[in-house]
């Protein structure tokens, strides 16, 4: 190739640094932008179904166990902080603290999934299923004596399990990914002060999952 050819292949403008993010980080941000639309579609559907529901919607705390979920929210917030502490540790070059905070994040995340599984089992045991209320259950009696509005419980059940279920699926995927990274990269000490992109990228995903739960907790459990 001649010098003239090489010059002809140069772009006619100075190269720009764009968003100043490496490929995997930019990829994660694009993925998260699509996730914003995904969860907004779910939340939007919930809002539309709730305002268009026949009769009243069940009051907060009458069907769902708010104290248990509040504890779970606290767990997820703690896991978000431990994740960002893991990021800050390796950014400062501290391998030991990275291992500690990363493990704390995995434990908090796995505990969140465990508590959510317990919550589901407890709700199903009380008779709250995705199609509404199971006949002959404790909640069916509350519907019969007028304590719970029966007409909208089918919509309540389907929207509740869809939204929290998809979120729980995201948390589970996050925990599995973190366990994989912990075993293959964090424990063998492959992340360094010069190369810790994996921690930052999985951290972005994890904080997003926390952010979505903050909104879901308020909309589904408190309003």
């Amino acid at each position: 190739m001649t010098t003239a050819d090489a010059r002809a292949m140069q772009p006619p403008f100075p190269a720009e640094r764009g968003v100043d993010a490496y490929n995997t980080k930019l990829g994660m941000w694009v993925f998260l932008a699509s996730e914003v639309m995904f969860f907004t579609a779910l939340i939007g559907a919930y809002i539309i179904l709730r305002f268009g529901a026949p009769g009243e919607w069940a009051r907060p705390g009458t069907v769902l166990n708010v104290p248990v979920t509040a504890f779970n929210t606290f767990l997820l917030i703690c896991s978000s902080v431990s994740m960002v502490k893991a990021y800050a540790s390796i950014a400062d070059g501290n391998q030991k603290l990275l291992k500690f905070w990363f493990l704390v994040t995995i434990i908090c995340g796995a505990s969140f999934v465990g508590v959510q599984a317990y919550e589901y089992l407890h709700l199903i045991h009380r008779g709250f299923v995705p199609s509404g209320v199971r006949d002959g259950s404790e909640l069916a009696e509350l519907v019969a004596n007028g304590t719970l509005p029966g007409a909208s419980l089918g919509l309540y059940g389907s929207t509740f399990y869809t939204m929290t279920g998809f979120h729980g699926f995201h948390v589970t995927c996050g925990v599995i990914s973190m366990i994989y990274l912990y075993l293959t990269k964090v424990l063998p000490g492959k992340y360094t002060q010069q190369n810790y992109g994996g921690v930052e990228v999985i951290g972005l995903y994890w904080h997003f999952v926390d952010l979505v739960w903050i909104i879901l907790f308020t909309i589904v459990y408190l309003i």
Partner: protein, 92 residues
């Protein structure tokens, strides 16, 4: 691979802030005797405030370039328009 270096924000202080806001939300939802509409507004405001704290400090959006921030922000108004369009469908 690493990001542009910046001073770490006070993460534990933000955690405490998030914890207090969650506790305030619970008090607001179950204890405070105020009108339903005001409660709704305050609860949504608190949730958005918490979400913003997570995005700005834990996801480090505060320290990113504007065009990367826009990548995350642009879907939000589109999503609101989508929801409002469907909610108001029966008016048309």
């Amino acid at each position: 691979m690493e990001s542009v270096q910046h001073k770490h924000p006070p993460y534990l202080l933000i955690w405490l802030y998030l914890f207090l806001l969650t506790a305030a939300e619970l008090g607001l939802a179950f204890e405070l005797p105020i009108s339903r509409n005001l409660k709704l507004l305050l609860l949504l405001g608190t949730a958005l405030w918490k979400a913003l704290l997570v995005a700005m400090f834990f996801m480090h959006l505060k320290f990113e370039k504007w065009n990367l921030r826009m990548l995350f922000i642009i879907p939000l108004p589109l999503a609101v328009i989508l929801v409002l369009a469907v909610i108001t469908e029966k008016i048309w």
